[in-house]
Amino acid sequence: MLKQIEGSHAMAEAIALCRPEVICAYPITPQTHIVEGLSEMVRDGHLRGCEFINVESEFAALSVAIGSSAAGARTYTATASQGLLFMMEAVYNASGLGLPIVMTLGNRAIGAPINIWNDHSDAMSVRDAGWIMLFAETNQEAVDLHIQAFKLAEELSCPVMVNVDGFILTHAVERVDIPDQAQVDAFLPPFDPVQVLDPANPVSMGAMVGPDAFMEVRYLSHHKQMQALDRIPEIAAAFKERFGRDSGGLIRCYRCDDADTIVVAMGSVVGTLKDMVDDRRDAGDRIGVISIGAFRPFPLDEVRHALMGARRVVVLEKALAVGMGGILASHIRMALRGHPTKVYTLIAGLGGRPILKPSLNAFMDRVEAEPHYDVHFLDLREDIVEAEIARMAAERRSGPIAENVLRRVAATAQTTL
């Protein structure tokens, strides 16, 4: 049914349609509306046969989820940013134990300085934890990906994280098609765990494993993710067949066929990039955009294939490997190893900084004019960082960096008023 609805509520409705049996979450912006919606549905009887557990921390939230999933209940949780880091130990544990928990990550920057706005720092901090990581471009896709996520998780017995850009998706009111229960039931069978805590058939789960077997266990995790490279497109195809929509998949290409330049990105910024591509195409620029739908497993082959014809690739990413540079860009370079294609890293939107078309266009022009360009920070206030670097070099007791920067931002704002 088509609805004008807030992204979070649309996701909550989709998750409810998947008939979770245990939901356990701890509030953190911008994930709150999703779990509030779910708790209301559990309370008012709309979501029958489900327990909503209120816990004292994110660490407990995922720990409860680990217990309920291991005991055979379909389990859901959601978090963001600091919350994800607070549950970090359990994040690795859930995947190591092969528990098909589905978690929404309302992507948000990580402090300090504390910042509630969107970027992908949180997701990137767990990129090697063994979870399948899907990224939604729109709220429609966020809805659809959750339904696919439960199927994927339970087929592979592996946790799946659905990444949705905080605020940009979670708090945006959009037109979304919410499937009906019969459609979802036909797509997603009841959870049939591959291993379960059962007194009638007792097993020991989570045993101590030494050097003789640990590497094999890790290898098998990797193997599972490689299987997901096949299952993700298959599930997306099955989804399309039943729901009539293209949603999910490993990567999605937009106007890439004859493109010289391809921009690669993840999440909601792809919408802006598609607009930019359309504008530049109108101006005669042969440009396209690729949206990475699955960051884990990383679809190296698909990406290589899709980028093969391009002369240059611009990777726009909303995270930074401090001391190294781009994270997604390093993946793209890996996909293109052995090819002369030039890869540019564009770090953008950290801590919610708007990613605007004029800035993107200016950057694209510059890339064409100055091909030696490599890592670039979109709309970085270079005057301010240079002044701060100079001041830090001059005075040892410089005070909190963020405060100094903000003071200077205020000062420059005043002079330009």
Binding site: E51, F59, S69, A70, A71, S204
Partner: protein, 340 residues
């Protein structure tokens, strides 16, 4: 009872105070007195000789299994018990058992309990267990959350008064004056600094949960009775069991039970039960012994007994004062008084 946990087992115990006493009336015999008992932890685990924790866990979980008629799931925090029982690919557990992390046993158990509720398997019961480190320190937040929600979980803490698995470091349950790897008795330093420690049984009571008890491997009848009692109740329950650790305490393997008994008889480890925040029973001490009887056989307190330690006598006096305070608080000496 399911067949996996049910096997004929031999008796190890003899004597009047032991659990396996077949001279008792069948009605009074305990779980361990039955050859048909579920053997939760089988032999083959790697615990040290004389490990109080291995003993405590076997008696506690066997009793819980009996009370639950075999329908039990155990969750285990990281620590000696987890490590010595599950060297992959072997396991000593004959019961559905799961280890996740050091600090989350209470929360994982809460999740297991939630799954039983939604699946309509209310007959399946859940026990979480961990050492004092996993309980009083790193897992304390999750434990308090589990108490506050009154989750249907029995949490058992095996208190050996330090982090034994990582090589005997101090926990918040380590007594004042005890030497550990992180509270060394160097020069004038007294070992662990004196304080009250973190008294989780009392903190559990402050959560108003239905049942809290302390127990000891020195009194296995009592331990079993408390576990059985706890299993008869729904909601959050907590049992704190003292389990001497020969390795960490620097005591002889054959002294485990004797030391546990001296801890009770000196007043240092009071045995009591509480319901909904009120103490309902305590076990009286018939013949109180000085704390030094208990402390002296343990190397972790040896520095307090050195004549050239200027603080030794004061430290011993403080431990004695703590024991005396316990006697007053829990009215432990009433039997001795009545006998007068």
């Amino acid at each position: 009872m399911n067949q996996m946990t049910n096997q004929t087992v031999k008796f190890y115990q003899t004597g009047t105070l032991t659990v396996g006493n077949r001279l008792l009336d069948p009605g009074q015999r305990t779980v361990q007195a039955s050859e048909e008992r579920a053997n939760a932890i089988t032999c083959g685990h790697r615990a040290c000789q004389g490990c109080g924790e291995a003993l405590g866990a076997r008696y506690a979980i066997d009793a819980a299994l009996k009370a639950a008629e075999g329908n039990l799931i155990c969750v285990n925090a990281t620590g000696c018990l987890e490590v010595f029982t599950t060297p992959y690919p072997e396991t000593s557990w004959q019961v559905a058992w799961m280890h996740s992390l050091f600090g989350n046993a209470a929360a994982v158990a809460a999740g297991v309990a939630a799954a039983q509720r939604v699946k309509g398997r209310d007959h399946v019961r859940v026990v979480a267990q961990g050492g004092d480190g996993g309980t009083t320190d790193i897992g304390f937040g999750c434990l308090s959350g589990m108490f506050e929600r009154n989750d249907d979980v029995l949490y058992i803490c095996y208190d050996n008064e330090a982090y034994m698995n990582t090589g005997v470091q101090r926990s918040s349950a380590t007594p004042g004056g005890a030497r550990t790897a992180t509270t060394p008795a160097v020069g004038d330093a007294p070992g662990n600094v004196f304080g009250t420690g973190k008294n989780v049984p009392l903190i559990a009571m402050a959560h108003n949960i239905p049942y809290v008890a302390t127990a000891s491997v020195a009194d296995l009848h009592d331990l079993e009775a408390k576990v059985t009692r706890a299993m008869g109740i729904r909601g959050a329950r907590y049992i704190h069991i003292m389990v001497p650790c020969p390795l960490g305490w620097g005591s002889a393997s054959h002294d485990t039970i004797r030391l546990a008994r001296l801890a009770i008889e000196s007043g240092l480890f009071p045995l009591f039960e509480a319901e909904h925040g009120m103490v309902t029973a305590s076990r009286p001490i018939r013949r109180k012994v000085p704390v030094t009887d208990y402390l002296k056989p343990q190397k972790r307190f040896a520095h307090l007994f050195k004549p050239d330690n200027p603080h030794g006598a004061a430290a011993l006096a403080r431990l004695q004062a703590q024991a005396d305070e316990n006697c007053r608080r829990f009215n432990l000496l009433r039997a001795a008084e009545e006998g007068k």
